[in-house]
């Protein structure tokens, strides 16, 4: 037990403020304190990526970030990517191309993929496989995940072109 710290963060656009022990892990903060249960716990050692969120513009594994490190940060989780009426193209593509089965890795997988496509809007298959290698899926064998991300990239690029 340590002295509690005063933490402020913005999660999916909403300002949050609370007292927490510095040892509290960000995934715990999100899931237990803020009831944001999209990100999951799979390994607690940074290997599986089920807990992936975007923190200050970077993909991070929330299971190995102390809440103290996330003080003052801006965080996006799967819940912040789309709404039921306006889904993110990746959310659509994963369903369309059977890019998920049990769904446990999916929030982290899609959240990571949003960053991948921001960093590289037109990735090759190899770049997708490398860029997603921090997220483990036990069900799909990745083939349809790669397909989903490719399809979403095409969709997003077409929408961008149409807007220009």
């Amino acid at each position: 037990m340590g002295k509690k710290m005063h933490i402020q963060m913005t999660v999916n656009g909403k300002a949050e403020e609370f007292l927490a022990e510095p040892r509290e892990l960000l995934i715990y903060t999100l899931r237990e304190r803020l009831n944001i249960t999209g990100p999951h716990i799979g390994c607690e050692t940074s290997h599986c990526g089920a807990c992936t969120v975007t923190l200050n513009g970077k993909s991070v594994k929330a299971c190995t970030v102390f809440v103290a490190q996330a003080d003052g940060s801006e965080i996006t989780t799967i819940e912040g990517l789309g709404t039921p009426d306006a889904l993110h193209p990746l959310q659509v593509a994963f369903k369309e191309h059977h890019g998920l089965q049990c769904g446990y890795c999916t929030p982290g997988m899609i959240t990571r993929a949003t960053k991948l496509l921001e960093e590289n809007p037109n990735p090759t298959e190899e770049e997708i496989r490398f860029g997603m290698a921090g997220n483990i899926c036990r069900c799909t064998g990745y083939q349809n995940i790669v397909k989903s991300i490719k399809a979403a990239a095409a969709e997003m690029n077409a929408a961008k072109e149409a807007a220009e």
């Binding site: 049990c102 997708i128 997220n135």
Partner: protein, 809 residues
């Protein structure tokens, strides 16, 4: 009017029934982060329980002091075996007829064993409490090798020997030694010995199918909530068999079964890991009763890998005999099965080695004998079927390796050896030497299709050239061609020979048609990613003529779902899928009577047509199922009860036998030991295909889990019984980077006894994939004298194989 102009084809299309690649209805919630897994459940005042675990693999416990732990802020209680003993819950029965300590009762038998259960306000307080529990251990000699265990004077399980130290009989008869669990036999020992001793050619091999773990991305866990006011226990958990869990909880706790509600919420993958009953479930229930509050227990990844549900760990010795021309005459298999400290294998009760007696594979082998000896060691209990029907992965790996070893002995092409020994199409239904009756198959057609698709002869020519180039120093990469042809045995199973703890392995479906022509169906199974809500609605749509999109499928709540034995061993489609079709046919039978009444004709004068009943010979006169549904609720029809509901409990007459033909092409760098999968072709025959998109997804996933097991994944122990692969740093789970694209293909040989001819597919790719990857590695080294090397073929082991064969100069 619109219906009249609509083509039959359009009407079929609208149903999204059998054969349609319907998009999954589950995905909306999963892609939006709105899944509801057990760790997402939050109840008022909920506490968190976690285990103090043994650091030793074998030790006597001389003292446990919980005083300091109880002083830790947030800790409410610490349970030990002493607390559970008055309730009779310090031990629990296992699915295999043995018993297992819930909390260490005087000693521990494997590293990570549950010693005490700390109940606290949250996970952090529980972790602090665990640190403060003082346990005194006195180390005992450790046995991690089953062969040594069978020779050792050290008695692992004092509770299984009499006062003189002699082994008491076990659940499966007499035991040969105090660390021996059972001997299980199938086939004809004497004839097999005779056939092999007189054979022209005999090939032999020892192989170790290493211990591994299903490792779903979500670990096991539960929330137990005892409502003391109403006397009701609700138990949410990662249960692949919720009804069986309810019955087990009732039997061991004494709580009447109607007062127990078990709910499996969304499950983040199972692969066999979530079939068993674990100490965490028992302790959570007890802790909830003791504290009067809901208690959650969730494994962390180390707990998961170290303690719940290992798979495999079979030491197999094979002899296979043949004529000089390669016609197989006999097969002998002996298995020494390492079951760990308690026999907690999840198999049908009468099958302590599962369906290992499917080990004659896809071949017409006239004589065979199998003997399995189960052994206690200081390893974790479990022995689940990791993405396969009971021990079928072991059986198929065994025979597919024996075929390769025999091909080497005969100096014959392994594809040809398979071809000349396949059970022929006209032999089905085929009774194998070890007793199973295969329902249907057309192996030759599948094999020819596969070999043609990959240009097998071309591949062998390329491989021959590669060997020349390698010998000439032009390349350091060898090429391996992995073949496998598998027959699975799934869909357990007929109640006459399949039960778990006395519960027959039937399954069930209950359908309610609503007045406006939509429906809900509930089943005794539970999806863990297989997409039941999508596919079972498709089966029903085709049976009852209402669109799949208008049918809700619900599973996993024992208060509402009919009794069933759950989802594992590819049994959902063969058993619950059959129940679904049969319940649908009951709906249709009643609908026929209602339609005949409405159309004012005799029952026999109407017939079903896609989504309606039509008057025979007058297709313009019809009533749609939607109209019939409404009539069932608003008309007084003489002799017919109102409503439109049905339930079916389906006891399958036989198992189903999916099969497939796989080919893997691999390049192996002999200096680094890195295999590169160039191509993987998978032909599956799962009988009638319900949803091709989902089948393909299952194949991709199963192959990837096969790749993992064959090429690196293992639960390894050191001599002290320490788990060396207890985190995802050491336990291999392939990422997108290591996994190839797969080519999928199919033939369709329906099951003759299944109502819609379906056989099940989820586990086939794993069962067939493991030997295929392994055979590819071994085939690459065949020209240099390799006969057999054990899995997992990780980079180091492949390098070592190359080194031992003198390929490093």
């Amino acid at each position: 009017m619109k219906d009249e102009v609509e083509s039959r084809e359009d009407r079929v299309g609208k149903l999204k029934g059998l054969g349609c690649s319907r998009k999954r209805v589950e995905d909306a919630r999963f892609t939006q982060g709105k899944g509801n897994y057990v760790d997402d459940i939050k109840l008022d005042g909920m506490l968190f329980g976690d285990f103090v675990r043994s650091p030793y693999a074998h030790a006597r416990i001389t003292g446990i002091n919980i005083d300091a732990a109880l002083k830790v802020p947030g800790v409410l209680a610490v349970l030990t075996a002493k607390d559970l003993e008055p309730l009779g819950l310090h031990w629990m029965p296992t699915l295999a007829g043995d018993r297992q300590m819930v909390l260490a009762d005087g000693k521990v038998l494997f590293q990570g064993q549950e010693v005490a259960f700390v109940v606290a306000e949250d996970r952090y307080a529980a972790a602090d409490g665990i640190e403060a529990v003082e346990v005194e251990y006195e180390e005992l000699p450790v046995l991690v090798n089953p062969f040594e265990s069978l020779k050792s004077d050290v008695v692992l399980r004092e509770d299984t020997v009499d006062e003189d130290g002699a082994p008491k009989d076990g659940a499966h008869g007499p035991r040969k030694h105090h660390n021996h669990i059972f001997t299980w036999e199938a086939g004809d020992r004497d004839t097999t010995e005779q056939v092999i001793s007189e054979a022209e050619v005999v090939a032999e091999s020892d192989m170790y199918y290493h211990r591994t773990h299903p490792c779903p991305l979500e670990t096991c866990g539960c929330v137990a909530s005892m409502d003391k006011v109403n006397g009701k226990l609700t138990l949410w958990g990662t249960f692949q068999a919720p009804h069986a869990i309810r019955t087990v909880v009732s039997l061991i706790s004494g709580i009447e079964e109607h007062n127990i509600r078990v709910i499996s919420p969304d499950i983040g993958g199972g692969f066999g890991n979530k079939v068993g009953a674990y100490p965490g479930y028992v302790c959570s229930v007890v802790a909830s009763i003791v504290t009067g509050k809901p208690v959650k227990w969730i494994e962390d990844r180390m707990d998961n890998l170290m303690t719940t549900a290992f798979a495999r760990d079979y030491h197999m010795t094979g002899r296979i005999s043949a004529t000089k021309d390669g016609k197989i005459t006999g097969l002998h298999c002996h298995v020494t099965a390492d079951h760990g400290g308690f026999d907690a294998c999840a198999d049908p009760t009468k099958f302590p080695a599962g369906f290992m007696n499917i080990c004659t594979g896809s071949y017409d082998i006239p004589t065979a004998f199998l003997e399995v000896d189960g052994v206690y060691t200081n390893k974790a209990p479990g022995g689940v079927s990791y993405r396969c029907s009971f021990r079928v992965t072991e059986a198929v790996y065994f025979i597919e390796r024996m075929i390769e070893v025999l091909a080497i002995k005969l100096n014959m092409d392994a594809a040809e050896l398979r071809r000349i020994n396949f059970i022929r199409k006209e032999q089905f239904p085929y009774t194998a030497a070890l007793g199973w009756e295969y329902d249907s198959g057309d192996y030759h057609t599948a094999w020819e299709k596969a070999l043609k698709a990959v240009d097998y002869e071309g591949l062998r020519a390329e491989q021959a050239q590669r060997i020349e180039d390698f010998k000439a120093g032009k390349t350091r990469k060898l090429m391996g061609i992995g073949l496998s042809f598998f027959t699975e045995i799934v869909g357990a199973g007929p109640v006459k020979n399949c039960d778990i703890l006395g519960l027959g392995m039937f399954d069930s479906c209950e359908i309610r048609i609503h007045p406006t022509g939509s429906a809900i169906a509930r089943l005794g199974t539970i999806s863990q990613g297989q997409g039941h809500a999508t596919t079972f609605a498709q089966i029903l749509a085709s049976e009852i003529g209402l669109p799949a999109d208008s049918i809700t499928i619900e599973e996993g709540d024992t208060d509402t779902a009919p009794y069933g034995l759950g989802t594992y061993g590819s049994r959902s489609t063969p058993v619950a899928g059959a129940a679904t079709a049969m319940a649908g046919r009951k709906i249709r039978a009643k609908a026929q009577m209602i339609a005949a009444y409405l159309l004012e004709v005799h029952d026999d004068d109407v017939e079903f047509d896609v989504d309606r009943f039509v008057v025979k010979g007058a297709p313009e006169r019809f009533k749609t199922m939607k109209e019939i549904a409404f009539a069932a609720y608003n008309q007084a029809i003489p002799g017919i009860e109102p409503g439109l509901e049905a339930v079916s409990y389906y006891d399958p007459p036989n198992m189903t036998y999916p099969f497939g033909a796989y080919v893997c092409v691999m390049d192996i760098d002999v200096d680094t030991g890195v295999p590169e999968i160039r191509r993987f072709y998978a032909l599956d025959d799962c009988g009638t295909r319900i949803n091709p998109m989902i089948i393909e997804g299952q194949v991709h996933g199963g192959l990837t889990e096969a790749l993992a097991v064959a090429l690196g994944q293992e639960i390894a122990y050191d001599d002290m019984g320490n788990v060396k692969t207890g985190t995802l740093m050491d336990f291999f789970l392939p990422t997108a980077w290591e996994v190839p694209n797969y080519e999928t293909d199919h033939t369709v040989t329906p099951s003759p006894h299944h109502p819609i001819g379906a056989k099940g597919v989820g586990e086939s790719p794993h069962v067939g994939g493991v030997p295929c990857f392994s055979n590819a590695v071994q085939d690459a080294f065949r020209p240099f004298g390799n006969v057999h090397t054990n899995m997992p073929h990780d980079h180091w082991r492949i390098w070592k194989t190359a080194h031992d064969l003198g390929l490093h100069g």
